[in-house]
C-alpha cells in the first residue's frame, strides 16, 4: 500500500512538474554556440524549462522565420535582421542587444601576433568571412581598409560564407591568418589558442548581436523566461567570459 502511494505520488509529481515546465525552440547564430551551450545548461537547471536549440546562419534563420518556422526566440549575429523581424510580429517587442562581438586576427601556430603579421611578405592567405553576408566579414574588411592594406592583401583574402568557415580555413592550416570572432578562439582548449591580436574597436563597425522574442514565443513560459534570463547578471557574465563585450 505504501509503495502504491509512493508510486502514485511520484506519478503525480512528475505529471505536475511536466505541466509547469515548457519547451521553447531557440534559433541561435553559429558564432554564439559556445556561450549558448553554457547558458542553456544554466537556464534549464534554474528554471526547469527545456530549450531546443538550433544553430545556423543568421541569414538562413531570417528567411525561415519569415516563412513561418516555429522558433520562439532568435539570437542573431547582427542587429538588422532581428529588428526587421520584430516589426513583423503581431506582438511587437523591441529587439535587444545581448552581446557585442569582438573581432580577432588569429594564428594558431605562433607565440605572438600583431597587425604587422598582415604585412609579412611570405604571407599566402588570410581568411575572412564574406563581407556581404557576415558582420564579422564586414568588420574585417573595415580593419584592412583602416590599416591601408587593401592592395597588399588583394588576391590573398579567402572568403568563407560565414565566420565559422573562416575559422576552419585557419584551423586546418590552409590560411596562415584569419579574422575570426574572439569567442571562437576562446572556445578552444587553452593550449590550442595560438596567438591573436584584437584590432581597436574604433577601426570597425560595432558587431551588435540582437535577440528577439517571436510570436511563437508569446504565451510560452519557457521562451519568455529565457528572454529575461538572457539579460540577467548571471547570463551577462557567461556571455562576457565567452569573449563578447556587453551592451
Amino acid at each position: 500500500m505504501y509503495r502504491l502511494a509512493l508510486a502514485f505520488c511520484q506519478f503525480f509529481c512528475v505529471a505536475t512538474s511536466a505541466a509547469w515546465a515548457e519547451t521553447a525552440h531557440v534559433a541561435v547564430a553559429a558564432n554564439f554556440r559556445p556561450a549558448m551551450e553554457t547558458l542553456e545548461v544554466a537556464f534549464e537547471r534554474e528554471s526547469g524549462h527545456d530549450l531546443q536549440v538550433s544553430y545556423g546562419a543568421t541569414g538562413q534563420f531570417f528567411a525561415q522565420i519569415q516563412h513561418g518556422a516555429p522558433y520562439a526566440v532568435f539570437l542573431a549575429a547582427d542587429a538588422e535582421r532581428p529588428h526587421l523581424l520584430a516589426e513583423m510580429q503581431t506582438n511587437r517587442i523591441e529587439a535587444r542587444t545581448y552581446a557585442i562581438g569582438q573581432l580577432a586576427l588569429w594564428s594558431p601556430h605562433t607565440e605572438a601576433l600583431a597587425a604587422d603579421a598582415l604585412r609579412g611578405s611570405g604571407l599566402r592567405f588570410v581568411a575572412v568571412a564574406n563581407a556581404e553576408l557576415a558582420p564579422y566579414g564586414a568588420a574585417a574588411e573595415a580593419v584592412i581598409a583602416a590599416l591601408e592594406l587593401e592592395e597588399a592583401l588583394a588576391g590573398k583574402l579567402v572568403r568563407g560564407s560565414n565566420v565559422a568557415q573562416a575559422f576552419v580555413f585557419v584551423q586546418t592550416g590552409n590560411a596562415e591568418l584569419g579574422f575570426v570572432a574572439l569567442s571562437q578562439i576562446l572556445s578552444l582548449p587553452e593550449g590550442k589558442r595560438g596567438a591573436y591580436w584584437l584590432p581597436p574597436p574604433e577601426l570597425y563597425p560595432t558587431i551588435r548581436q540582437d535577440a528577439v522574442l517571436l510570436d511563437h514565443g508569446h504565451g510560452n513560459e519557457a521562451a519568455v523566461a529565457f528572454f529575461q534570463f538572457l539579460f540577467s547578471d548571471q547570463a551577462r557574465s557567461i556571455i562576457e567570459n565567452a569573449g563578447y563585450e556587453l551592451p
Partner: protein, 225 residues
Amino acid sequence: MSAPDFAALILTLKLALTATAILLLVGTPLAWWLARTRARLKPVAEAIVALPLVLPPTVLGFYLLILLNPQSAIGSFWLSVTGETLTFSFSGLVLASVLYSLPFMVQPLQSAFETIARKPMELAASLGASPWDAFVSVAVPASARGFVTAIVLTFAHTLGEFGIVLMVGGNIPDRTRVISIAVYENVERLDYAQAHSLSLVLLALSFSVLLFVYIFNRRFPVHVG
C-alpha cells in the same frame, strides 16, 4: 549580367571542361577494369567510386581541406612543385571536381562496357588485333552512348557543384568564385535580380546539355551483341 558574374560563368565552364577531360582519361580505364575484372576487390572499388554520390559535399570538402593543406603530404608536394597551394586555387577545384564527379563518369561507362559481349572482343583478338586496337575499334563504337552520357553528366554535374567549392575554394574572384557560389552570394544578400539572371543561365545551360543527351540517345540507338 555583371562583370564579376560573367567571370564566374567563364570560370565555371573552364572548370567543368577541364574536370571532364581529366575524368575521361582516368575514368575510362577504371570503368573498363571494373567491367571486366573478376577480382574479389571489385565491390570495394565500386563502393569507393560511388562514395561521392552519397557523401554530403561538405564532408568531402572538409576532408579535402585537411588532406590538401600546405602542411600535408599532398599539399606540400604540390606547393614545392608548382609554387601554388592546392586549396584556394583553380587546380584544387579541378582535383575536387574530379573526385566529386567520378561516379558520373565511371558508372555509365562501366554499364556500357558490361553490355559488350566477350565474343566480338575475342573475335577481334583472334583476327590479330592488339588489345588496344580491339578496344578502340570494337568497344568504343559499341559504347558510344555510354561515352556521351558519361561525358555530359560529368560536365553538367561539375557545373552545379557547390558544397565542395565553398569549402575548398575560398571564393576568390577569377580563381575559385564559380557560378553556384555567385548565385548563393546574390541570394544571401537579397539581390534576387542578379540571382535570377545567373540561375536562368545555369538552368538553360543544364537543360540544353541534358536535352542533347536524350536526343542523341534516341537518334543513335546502339545495338550490341
